[in-house]
Symmetry: none
Amino acid sequence: MPKLGMGPIRRRQLIDAAIASIHEYGLADTTVARIARKAGVSPGIVHHYFTGKDDLLFETMRQLLADLRADVVARYASARGPFERLNSVINACFGDVQFSPEVVAAWLGLYGTARQSERLQAILTIYHRRLRSNLVSDLRALVPPQEAARIAEGIAAMIDGLWVRYALMGGVDDPLIPRTLTRDYLTAALAQFDNKKKTR
Amino acid sequence: MPKLGMGPIRRRQLIDAAIASIHEYGLADTTVARIARKAGVSPGIVHHYFTGKDDLLFETMRQLLADLRADVVARYASARGPFERLNSVINACFGDVQFSPEVVAAWLGLYGTARQSERLQAILTIYHRRLRSNLVSDLRALVPPQEAARIAEGIAAMIDGLWVRYALMGGVDDPLIPRTLTRDYLTAALAQFDNKKKTR
Amino acid sequence: MPKLGMGPIRRRQLIDAAIASIHEYGLADTTVARIARKAGVSPGIVHHYFTGKDDLLFETMRQLLADLRADVVARYASARGPFERLNSVINACFGDVQFSPEVVAAWLGLYGTARQSERLQAILTIYHRRLRSNLVSDLRALVPPQEAARIAEGIAAMIDGLWVRYALMGGVDDPLIPRTLTRDYLTAALAQFDNKKKTR
Amino acid sequence: MPKLGMGPIRRRQLIDAAIASIHEYGLADTTVARIARKAGVSPGIVHHYFTGKDDLLFETMRQLLADLRADVVARYASARGPFERLNSVINACFGDVQFSPEVVAAWLGLYGTARQSERLQAILTIYHRRLRSNLVSDLRALVPPQEAARIAEGIAAMIDGLWVRYALMGGVDDPLIPRTLTRDYLTAALAQFDNKKKTR
DNA sequence: AATGAATGAGCCTTCATTCAT
DNA sequence: TATGAATGAAGGCTCATTCAT
């Protein structure tokens, strides 16, 4: 929990510096000293604004989640109808932010660390639940609940799978490719359902 | 004469111990001492059989890749035709081995570390290329090259996405679910192509 | 604000502790922990003020050179004429400082290590060049250049030879002995030249 | 003490390998493993022929002394009269062997280590005493005892001083230089005495 | 609020030595 | 005699954390 009034600016500086350090050195080689240097402050300051290194890193990962959520919400604002809302999610997950080297490094670092920490694990759990619930929510406006759950599962896997493949392979040349593949999957799934309906 | 031929045995012991340690403590908190203790040997012996900790960890990750490959190859043996071969890949990727906590921990650790090491990066690159080439190879017997590439991309993403989601959420209750979802995706993609063909 | 200006103080403390450790344990058995203990600080602090052990040891050896130089310069201040200046050098090289067990241990340690390190080698090179140039400079006021070079070579050898013999034999009972022997060599060399001149 | 009959060949192999290692890595970085590798044997063998590493190193240093002695004795054989015998000593001390990089490295290593070990110290003590006694013995045939002692002291210092300077500066271009300087010192000292005698 | 000096635990690695074979 | 596997004790160094200022 952020200690309000105690300097949200410093906190954000340090979180950004942490992300920068994870990008440059990797999570394993990210030290308090390196974060502080990148933030242009002294190493000791970290313990004024965070319980310790783990806390700063936790808040850093939470920021990733918050940024992604904010991006989705922003895109929702201009979306008309459930299909466009689904696209908002897809586009946010494959947006420039999510494929930036810094963010990629941080997420992948989280992947490799979450198992050892309940708090970090929780961040990923929230991410997964939220993604699924966002998808299901809009899919239910298009197909029956059971179908919605199944399709949401598939799209979520598609999103994570394409992201992780591109992330691990060192970025993506054309960000349209994962979007297109995922959207094709979505439209195919919806079409398949429509066909079933017609057949009946 | 000292005990001869201890090399391969000790090496394998240490690799297994490394995996066990990554499972129990996480990659970041896996130390040479812990690996050695799990292997029941002294810490110094590690440098008898490996250049150093990094080397042991690299070989450990390489073992993951080799084990997966061996699993696929074994399943290929009893596969009849391209469709069954595609299923061999899917089943191997979602086999009990790949979802065992030890293997999950190791792969996820690799995800979070590969960016910092060319050698580790290479392991993931080989994994990705091999998966894709395996899929494309059999899909070409069923659909035209261009379609094969597109479908392979989708299946690979599906495999990685489902695996990573289940892996991060702490394993999978029913290993049939990811297999079914992926196979549905495959059959749908093939069916879609057949429809196109018929329509023409 | 933390304690300011601790840098130079700690650095000198550690250098002195290093010399003390070399004296007590020998250069080969001088460890960071031992140096720190002698300095009354924690082992980790060494890397706050020096790049590492090698750096501290290098600075330690450099201090030897600086101390010797300072001693010579101080004696120069009260020297009248070239002959007295030559004696200043001789007296400094055979002063109490240079025969103190700590300084002896450090110089001898340097002798045995310099071959493996360019930086340490450089210290000895500077010492040798400086000694020779000091001698030559004053001898030129007494004899022709060529003679000056030859005599300087001889005196330098005399100084190093007597020092090393006494150093290796565990110090010197009467520091006047090496001084006298060297001064005799000097006066004999000068007399020899004067004789030549007269003969001509 | 060499264990006779237990393999003097192996012992000598190991001593030579030790010298080679001291030359290549320095005394501080000379390990049992490196010595063994240079000797083409297994690391464990060292403890069959020597009490341990220290013992091997001690015997190595003792070999240096023995080699120098043998060289002097060999030159004595063809020397006619005390003056030539004195030259034998000078020539041996400045012979190719004593200026070879391997021998230089070993002697300098001994310089830096002797203070920590009585046994090693003893080697240097023997060297110093022997050199002095050799010189005095022959000088007594030329000058009165008191003069002989003084001149011997000077020549010994000259020998050690020139050797150490050339050794530390990375070898000697012309081995004649130190010989000439020392011989000049000797002849000058003898001439000086003759003059005194004549004057009287 | 902020600094950076200082601590001390822990890690990777090296190495002399031992020992079963 | 000879091997090289194996041990276990340090050693140098890093680093999160604390604290006087």
